[in-house]
């Protein structure tokens, strides 16, 4: 029963968003909303995909930023996580704590100094600014998750590789990384979704060129009118990559998080 309520609570708004994305503005704003099937239309989707194409641009920008962030996070994060998990890094505990400490500041605390730094560097409204900022909060989590996975790789495997003549780098590349592929996928998807959905930093640090999808969606709500139908249609479109990723890698994510939870 609790599960039913919880599911309804979680899925209700999503279902409502999907339904309303197929309804015209008039049907949505009437009280009560007119849900008759005759009203169903694709007009909202056509409008958001045509128009000034800001959503399409937003989706492209979001893809570039989210894929870059995930890729860089995996490359840097896996190397750092392996070093912290297995090599004798002096002060590794302190490093790990500091990595975690970066998570303790709410975005609102750092946004103003961050904005000033980025605008002084002339990086406002650039991909690089958002990617670097996203990495700053995604990378620590990636390091912690991957460290858990790497610690779960049996030590004997690495010892066997050492006996077979593999260097530390070869062991990492030929043994540890291939074994950890599910974990890397899961962590990559996590990093992608985090940056795909991010709104707060994006709204402050972008102007026109690199507006991400969440900003484009928000802009359907104007000063005088809010185009609810188009807004939810855009939101539904923007959710599709996340849902596809979640479904495709569902078993990886589940397996990943469970394993990480046990060992990490």
């Amino acid at each position: 029963m609790g599960l039913v309520i919880f599911t309804a609570w979680t899925l209700g708004p999503i279902l409502w968003a999907v339904i309303s994305s197929f309804l015209p503005q008039t049907a949505l704003t009437s009280t009560p909303p007119d849900l008759s099937p005759a009203n169903l239309t694709l007009a909202n989707f056509q409008a958001v995909l045509a128009g000034d194409r800001s959503l399409v641009k937003g989706l492209i920008n979001s893809s570039i930023i989210a894929i870059s962030t995930a890729a860089v996070a995996l490359v840097l994060g896996s190397a750092a996580a392996y070093a912290l998990a297995r090599l004798h890094v002096p002060g590794s505990n302190k490093i790990l704590l500091m990595v975690l400490a970066t998570q303790m500041f709410p975005g609102i605390v750092i946004i103003i100094p961050l904005f000033i730094v980025i605008s002084r560097m002339g990086l406002t409204d650039t991909y690089i600014a958002l990617i670097v900022v996203y990495l700053s909060f995604i990378l620590p989590i990636v390091i912690w998750i991957l460290k858990g996975f790497f610690e779960a790789v049996p030590l004997e495997l690495e010892r066997a590789a050492a006996v077979d003549g593999a260097s530390v780098l070869q062991t990492f590349r030929l043994i540890v990384l291939p074994i950890s592929l599910p974990a890397l996928f899961a962590t990559g998807v996590f990093a992608f979704i985090e940056s795909w959905n991010e709104f707060f930093f994006a709204v402050i640090l972008t102007r026109i060129n690199v507006k991400t999808a969440p900003i484009a969606i928000a802009e359907f709500s104007g000063q005088y009118t809010s185009l609810y139908g188009q807004m939810v249609a855009a939101a539904v479109l923007a959710s599709i990559p996340v849902i596809v990723l979640a479904v495709v890698f569902r078993q990886y994510i589940l397996k990943g998080f469970v394993e990480g939870a046990v060992k990490g």
């Binding site: 004997e156 050492a162 003549g165 593999a166």
Partner: protein, 358 residues
Amino acid sequence: MADVELIKVTKRYGPVLACSELDFHINDGEFVTLLGPSGCGKTTALNLIAGLDEVTSGQILMDGSVVNELTPFERDIAMVFQNYALYPHMTVADNIGFTLKLRKRPKDEVRRRVADVAEMLELGQLLNRRPRELSGGQQQRVALGRAVIREPRVFLFDEPFSNLDAALRVRMRLEIKELHQQLKITSLFVTHDQEEALSISDRIAIMRDGRIEQVGTSEEVYAQPVSRYVARFIGSPPMDILKGTLEREAGRIWYRVGAARFEIPESVVPTHAGALDLGVRPEHVLLGAAGQPVTATVIQPLGPMTYVTVGWEGGRLTSGVPGMSHVKPGDAIHVSLAPEGILFFDRESDRRIATTTA
């Protein structure tokens, strides 16, 4: 092939002394076993020799040169791990050939040598399988193959059979022994299973609390243990230890335990002042018409051997009788001790006290 020498090898983990001043020598081509209960430091010793762990002090030599600073690869050792440590994402062929690939050997050479090793270990049909598709025994043989293909100077085995069932363990014992006789590569084997150690080793080093208690052939450690610890650890069922006193009466010598006493020939009695424990193995506890009257309590028929445990007020002993026994629990019988099987241990120090026959 190489001989291996340990000189005062010590390993500390913080305050814990895992290995303390290990001194021993493995001859070229010899098969030596490190035997001891879990936590006695035998796996640590193996890792030190392998180069997977650094010694705190002391020296490890191979063929006369110090290898302390060398990596496992540079020491040219091969190791078989307790959980096999097969690379799960590689096929059997890739697992066995991994080390050659790392050395950038030509592809056909790798293929040929993998095929040779696979044939020797009867893995020919399995080369394209992944480790998880193999049985425990097959995985074990892949792990052996990975070690054999190296043609290393020294083989190291870390309890390689402990995950196998009893029947397979006995078979793998035979295979390892055959392999060793065929390749004659210096081997160091770690196990906590005394029967395994006795059956495959040229010599056994018995460890206790990070130290080597005794090194010797199977016969030596079995028949002439240096201490009560070794005596109890080797042999199954274990040697009985009686805690009694020596008595002299009318020129004869007796060992009294509770209400029973056993006659001891003068020749095996040590000239030792302290309190002595008497140790005797089941095959030296003789059942018969003469000797100390006792009562049979438990009968364990094992086929080739039957173990008859006898008791009296204040003590008990187990006798090993060849074949089947007609003795039943509750039967009144007599036991005596075979003089050649009587060992004395100092009750304080645990050491065996040598007698004229030993």
